[in-house]
Amino acid sequence: MRPRDLLCPKPAGLYCPPGDFYIDPVRPVPRALVTHGHSDHARAGHGAVLATQQTLDIMGLRYGEDFAGSTQAAAFGETIQVNGVDVTFHPAGHVLGSAQICVDHGGTRIVASGDYKRRPDATSQPFEPIRCDVFITEATFGLPVFRHPPDTHEIGKLIRSTEQFPERAHLVGAYALGKAQRVIRLIRDAGYERPVFIHGALAKLCDYYQSEGIDLGDLRPATVEGGAKGDFAGAIVVGPPSAFADRWARRFPDPISAFASGWMRIRQRAKQGGVELPLIISDHSDWDELLETIVETGASEIWVTHGREEALVRWCELQGIAAKALHLVGYEDEGD
């Protein structure tokens, strides 16, 4: 079977004609397979959703229990038949429960990796490379300039800054699902035992991670109920990046704004966002890891989605690997 007959881009997302399902559709469809819980990949309103239990749980937390007509949990490594097409979920290492979806039919195997990273992360199952004919890769950081440093180094910068500026609150912007919990866990792994304060938008997901056995330590709401500004001097406060531009942030004493994202690799990004302490911590693969993964899958053809496709396509061409950009719409190529 030709790969393009097994999976092809449609306005609603990547579609499998023989299996009659979509992967990560961006609008409501009768049957959806979802790689992970980020809102641009996991949307509410589908007829049936097949995803890992943790992704289903996260969708339930975000959209309410009735986010889909019916749900089915896929265990990692277990092959499920959907209208005669074999699908298998494998860990993607992106956030808790995130998966690559392997679609195997008529002698052709395609792996749709969703978003993935290769670095060890205590809050997510580690990525497993899967041999395949076609590998569909994201390209969020698909330029040679993106090379993520070790996350422990970045957290070290944060902790040193709390020692240098003990009178200032350290506001760490981090996306509510995945990044926030990973950052908190890294802070704990660095030996920081004081309470970490969190914005209300993070509470449900942090509770969920803790209930899944990921220890985040002493978390407290970042509210100043009758307290004084000085209560947060030297404290680490984690919240969604949007909150820090808001009045919410003004309650803290002379805050230092930090932002945990792969985008912080580019100085101008940090500068334009008024970020004083950029923390280059990403849940996506960096350039070197994208290349390494492409080689490891042994795929003879690479399809590139959301991000900076042209550089990755160029690199594949130089290596003699067929590659094309899929031009799927609706995914945030900036989210990290």
Binding site: P144, V145, R267, A270
Partner: protein, 533 residues
């Protein structure tokens, strides 16, 4: 190297002065010699390293990676040093040196490299470093750290670090060399204060504050002396133990450009004054004349003869072995008058006092000074010692009102930094040519003087009236019937052969937007030419 690289990154992103000071002090406290000293020298601009040109950097990197991928990368990042630091290929672990170079080693390697092997040495250093360190190395070799830290701020950080007065640091500064081991030892209390090793050191200059709205009513005219404010270059002439130095007001040694003046410094003293050209006994040259002598590495005898440099003296800081700075102004002035009388009158004269009885008097003198190169008056408190820096109270400057002209906006260019999405740099022109056939000729460029609200209005006007684009520059509709008139204030005008209009403005800024004024009523070039000194 990594600590230095991290310091640079933190300084760039830390807007507050106190935050920068904390970072610098912390760095001085936790980093060893000689690295901290080299870092200091890099920040104050006292580190001399043979420069590598951007084109060479680009060549080095495209020898090592696909030029197309480099092109995508550079387009995305927009900064050459940063792009190269990020894309530079990492050596495989077995080929990577197991020692990452320290800042001291990097500086040594770069300083001992000859011009021809500079690129090779640089490439080897980049191979051995990580991303952040590579960025810092490239910044060192391409010159200009651009981290928003002045030499003055770095010295303040040293003062905070050692809990001493910043004037003490400034006074020692010119006798010290990177990596400043003896300075740090003193600041840490491990060694005595370094002797003033060199002779003829720079003394930190005393500066004045502008007279503001209600300052004068609080002051007593009898407490102050007034003198003319000369529009030259503030300098300090120091001659001690056979060493002669001419310093700018920031302490840069400018002796090389003024050998004629330095030759005449056959005394043992430190003088504060204004560098001017001409013969003080006959005529003082204009600022345009003075410019013939500025920013030149060497001066031809012809130029030297045509525009001889001299110093019009304001103050005396040292005479022989005696430090006169603690004396009151009136006392120093007496010493100065006596001392100047002993010097070569072609090279040194006295800035005369301008007697006045009340502020109205002084105001009249200020607005119609007796010489075109006077830009206002100075007020000096009679009982004040000579203090480093800009203390409020003892010295004031009261400048002549700036010149203004009505000009028409011709081109607008995108700004930088927080103005990067706005057209905020404006080129404006005035009319020339016969009546009925006027055309605009550009006379200057300004990028400040307007409020944020006015910036938005001009930006909208530029976008609505663009007739042509050249990269970041837009050409704006400007003719007899259409266009925006800007009132431009400026400090002075020079003759210019570089500009089509033949004039160049000093310190132009937008003083008002004249939405009300028809473009054809803007000024003509003849008006400007008449203002030429």
């Amino acid at each position: 190297m990594n600590r230095f690289a991290e310091l640079l990154d933190r300084l760039v992103l830390t807007p507050a002065r106190n935050g920068k000071l904390t970072l610098l002090v912390d760095y001085f406290r936790t980093v060893e010699d000689p690295d901290r000293g080299y870092a200091l020298a890099a920040i104050t601009g006292d580190l001399s390293i043979a420069a590598i040109k951007p084109a060479m950097l680009r060549t080095l990197v495209t020898e090592r990676m696909d030029p197309v991928l480099f092109g995508y990368s550079y387009d995305y990042v927009g900064d050459l040093a940063e792009t190269v630091s990020l894309v530079w290929p990492e050596l495989p672990p077995e080929r990577k040196p197991n020692h990452a170079p320290t800042l001291g080693e990097v500086v040594d390697a770069l300083q001992s490299a000859s011009r021809s092997d500079g690129p090779t040495v640089l490439a080897r250093l980049l191979d051995s470093a990580g991303i952040e360190a590579r960025f810092a190395i490239i910044k060192l070799v391409t010159g200009g750290l651009r981290i928003g830290v002045s030499a003055r701020l770095a010295k303040q950080a040293l003062a905070d670090f050692g809990k001493v007065d910043v004037a003490e640091i400034e006074e020692l500064w010119h006798g010290l060399k990177p990596p400043y081991n003896e300075l740090f030892a003193w600041l840490e209390g491990k060694a005595p204060k370094p002797e003033k090793a060199a002779k003829a050191l720079f003394r930190p200059v005393m500066l004045s504050n502008p007279v503001e709205d209600r300052d004068l009513e609080k002051l007593e005219p009898a407490d102050y002396a007034a003198e003319w404010k000369w529009d030259g270059i503030r300098v300090q002439a120091v001659s001690e133990g056979g060493i002669r130095r001419l310093y700018s007001r920031t302490g840069d040694d400018v002796s090389g450009a003024f050998p004629d003046l330095v030759d005449a410094m056959d005394f043992s003293a430190a003088l504060d004054g204004e560098l001017l050209v001409g013969d003080p006994r006959e005529a003082t040259g204009t600022f345009s004349d003075l410019q013939q002598r500025l920013n030149r590495k060497s001066v031809s005898p012809k130029i030297r003869e045509k525009f001889p440099a001299f110093m019009r003296c304001y103050d005396i800081l040292q005479l022989g072995e005696e430090d006169l700075r603690p004396l009151p102004f009136i006392e120093r002035r007496k010493r100065l008058e006596a001392f100047i009388a002993t010097l070569d009158p072609r090279r040194f004269d006295l800035s005369p006092l301008a007697p006045f009885t009340n502020w109205e008097d002084l105001n009249r003198m200020r607005t119609s000074p007796p010489h075109p190169i006077i830009e206002g008056v100075m007020l000096k408190r009679l009982d004040s010692p000579y203090l480093a820096g800009r203390p409020k109270g003892p010295w004031f400057k009261w400048k002549r009102d700036p010149h203004t002209v009505d000009a028409v906006l011709m081109y607008a260019q995108r700004g930088h930094g927080k103005r990067s999405s706005f057209y905020s740099d404006y080129t404006f022109g005035v009319w020339q040519g016969a009546l009925g056939e006027e055309e605009l000729v550009p006379v200057g460029k300004a990028y400040f003087g307007f409020t944020d609200e006015e910036l938005k209005q001009i930006d909208k006007f530029v976008r609505d009236n663009t007739i042509e684009r050249f990269g970041p520059v837009r050409s704006v509709r400007a003719d007899r019937d259409n266009g925006l008139v800007l009132e431009v204030a400026f400090e002075g005008l020079n003759r210019s052969t570089r500009h089509k209009s033949g004039v160049a403005m000093r310190f132009p800024r937008i003083s008002r937007l004249r939405w009300d004024k028809p473009t054809i009523e803007a000024d003509r070039i003849e008006t400007l030419r008449a203002m030429l000194d």
